[in-house]
């Protein structure tokens, strides 16, 4: 008998419905074959399904079984077809009655007949909602992801035998209630470093606050041991929580890559990702024959920290240019093209030269001019042009380090975070319904609409552009940073002192 069970395949951030057709023949040489462009992980589903059924107390039929994954021209991967195949076989043998309403079955089987946490459930629920599919049978550990989407019945399934009982009307599986997004949680989660632990570096801390408040890219340069890495890591603690739309966007990507831990639902904490300089281009940007998101997409709406910036291969760095400008990345492969969101805040750290002491007042630089040139050439003009804030992080005076009592440091991360949250709220209110969330996301049309600049500031900007030969892009970026400083100050209008501060972060010492 032929039966059809619905499931889904992922391509990029979209899920397409897949019909799993199962036919158990009454005669013919026994065998189990899966067709419809399965990859190796689906090929292996045979053994998992077979063993899971036997361990659920069902005798595996010694008959000819054919499974077709339709439409047959889309390549399929992943372990998520285990459950629909098992249910298809069971209903083809007339051992279970599939539900009359359209339902998605999705999940990886364990050999003992239990269901394992499977990635992509959040995207499946989104697809179910848009396609009008009522019921969702997903592994219990992943069910919270689906429960975030309202208007569908989410059944958390812990084992195959439980589901068989439910479909036959013997036992009950309790539907999950719709989980509502927690409104801006202001509870502070401690991170590795607190800003109050960093002694000195007040201007760098101020720049970090501005960057976090407006989502601006920031570039730090300084000798080794000055505290660049510490500053960047401490920034994780001053990031505001995600708002609802941001959270949905991040959850989509995390669901696709399987980065949501079992039992968790929406991602509410802003991503903070670090990538080592040996990270491959594909690993950073995303790609592969079946396109996968890279680090820049995983840090969407969050922070990407690239330490030892010039040590990255040049091709990797230059590949960052387009996503830095557009806030998304298009990956085009033979299998099709996928666009992943990649609107992230970049924190880059670097030494001024290979030895690290160029321009240091106390220690002599040992590099030849050629070495310095080669090192700094990695940081190309177009790339640096896309970074709003450039700061120097000089070495801290040893006397200051020893004498300053710990407590007297300065503002704590918690205090700074409150300022940042306030500034972000102002921005969220302004950009409501525009799909942009920060000042750094603004396009030129938004600047014209939202930035109120007074005459004195405009004059100052004009002078700066003429004196320093700044590009048009830099001009607009300057306005964005000024707007963030203005938001932090709680003012409605960009004033000359805001622009002056923004300019101070713009001019690089060796320009």
């Amino acid at each position: 008998m032929l039966t059809k069970v619905l499931s889904a395949a992922h391509f990029g951030l979209e899920a397409t419905p897949i019909e799993v057709e199962v036919n158990v023949f009454k005669k013919g040489f026994p065998g189990f074959s899966i067709i419809g462009l399965p990859n190796k992980s689906i090929e292996e589903a045979k053994e998992r399904v077979k063993t899971a059924l036997i361990n659920s107390g069902i005798e595996f039929p010694n008959l000819k079984i054919i499974v077709n994954l339709a439409p047959a021209d889309i390549p399929k991967e992943g372990s998520l077809y285990d459950l629909p195949i098992a249910i298809g076989i069971l209903s083809s043998m007339e051992l279970v009655e599939p539900p009359e309403e359209k339902s998605f079955f999705y999940g990886e089987l364990s050999l003992d007949g239990g269901l394992r946490h499977t990635k992509g459930v959040f995207l499946l629920a989104l697809a179910a909602k848009s396609l009008g599919i009522k019921n969702l049978f997903v592994p219990k550990d992943s069910a919270n992801e689906a429960a975030v989407i309202g208007g569908i019945n989410v059944y958390p399934v812990s084992s195959l035998s439980e589901l068989i009982g439910f479909l036959n009307g013997i036992s009950e599986i309790k539907k999950l209630d719709h989980i509502v997004h927690r409104s801006l949680s202001t509870d502070y989660e401690a991170v590795e470093f607190d800003f109050s632990e960093i002694i000195g570096q007040e201007s760098a801390k101020r720049a970090m606050t501005i960057a976090a408040a407006g989502g601006h890219n920031i570039f730090m340069q300084g000798p080794p041991g000055a505290g660049k890495t510490m500053l960047a890591r401490a920034t994780a603690g001053i990031l505001p929580p995600l708002n609802e739309e941001e959270s949905l966007e991040v959850t989509k990507i995390y669901s696709l890559t399987g980065n949501i831990p079992p039992g968790e639902g929406l991602i509410t904490q802003r991503p903070f990702r670090t990538a080592h300089h040996t990270t491959s281009r594909i690993g950073l940007i995303g790609g592969g024959s079946d396109p996968h998101p890279g680090e820049i997409s995983l840090s969407h709406n969050g922070v990407l920290f690239l330490d030892e910036f010039p040590e990255f291969p040049r091709s990797t760095l230059e590949a960052l240019r387009q996503p830095l400008e557009d806030g998304k990345v298009s990956i085009i492969r033979i299998a099709g093209s996928v666009t992943f969101p990649a609107s992230f805040m970049l924190i880059a750290a670097s030494n001024p030269c290979p030895c690290g002491y160029l321009g240091d007042p106390k220690k002599e630089c040992k590099c030849t001019p050629r070495m310095i040139m080669k090192y700094q050439a990695k940081l190309s003009g177009p790339l640096m042009d896309r970074i709003d804030l450039h700061i120097n992080v000089p070495a801290v005076d040893i006397d200051k380090l020893i004498d300053t009592p710990r407590q007297l440091g300065s503002q704590t991360s918690r205090q700074i975070r409150e300022q940042v949250i306030k500034a972000r709220e102002t921005q969220n209110k302004k950009f409501k319904g525009l799909k942009i969330y920060t000042n750094a996301n603004m396009k030129n049309k938004h600047i014209a609409k939202f930035c109120d600049i007074d005459k004195g500031s405009l004059l100052l900007l004009k002078q700066a552009v003429n004196t320093y030969n700044l590009s048009a892009r830099t001009y607009f970026r300057l306005i964005k940073v000024s707007q963030t400083i203005c938001d932090l100050a709680g003012e409605n209008r960009i004033l000359p002192n805001h622009v002056a501060e923004a300019l101070q972060y713009r001019i690089r010492t060796n320009d």
Binding site: F29, P30, G31, N62
Partner: protein, 125 residues
């Protein structure tokens, strides 16, 4: 010991399968056609169709079903041997234009009593 034993089991299976097929109205043309490349358990015909039979026998079900032992590789082996057989006997090839590959799976109890016998027709289709 195992090599000799395997051959003995093979013989036993062929006996049972041949008897079974005779009852079904097949004519046995050849038993255990053997070359140094491989072998064919039975060559039979019925209604003018030449059929090569692969016989599998299992004592008990402790080591799985005989069906599991016939996979893609075994089938291609039988097919290759069938081609060789027809080359070896051109007269046969003249009489029979097409051929089929079948399998007969026999399960016996530990003391040799036949428990089930299944005949699967046209495997390569």
């Amino acid at each position: 010991m195992t090599k000799i034993f395997n051959r003995k089991v093979g013989r036993e299976g062929e006996e049972i399968a041949a008897k079974f097929l005779l009852d079904k109205g097949y004519k046995i043309l050849e038993r255990n056609y053997y070359t140094r490349f491989g072998e064919i358990d039975l060559v039979v015909s019925k209604n003018g169709v030449l059929t090569f039979i692969e016989v599998k026998l299992k004592h008990g079900d402790d080591f799985g079903t005989p069906e599991e032992m016939i996979g893609g590789f075994k089938l291609s082996q039988v097919q290759r041997m069938a081609e060789f057989y027809l080359m070896d006997k051109p007269k046969m090839a003249e009489i029979y234009k097409t051929y089929l590959i079948d399998a007969v799976c026999v399960v016996t109890s530990e003391d040799g009593e036949v428990e089930r016998i299944n005949h699967y027709e046209n495997l390569t289709f």
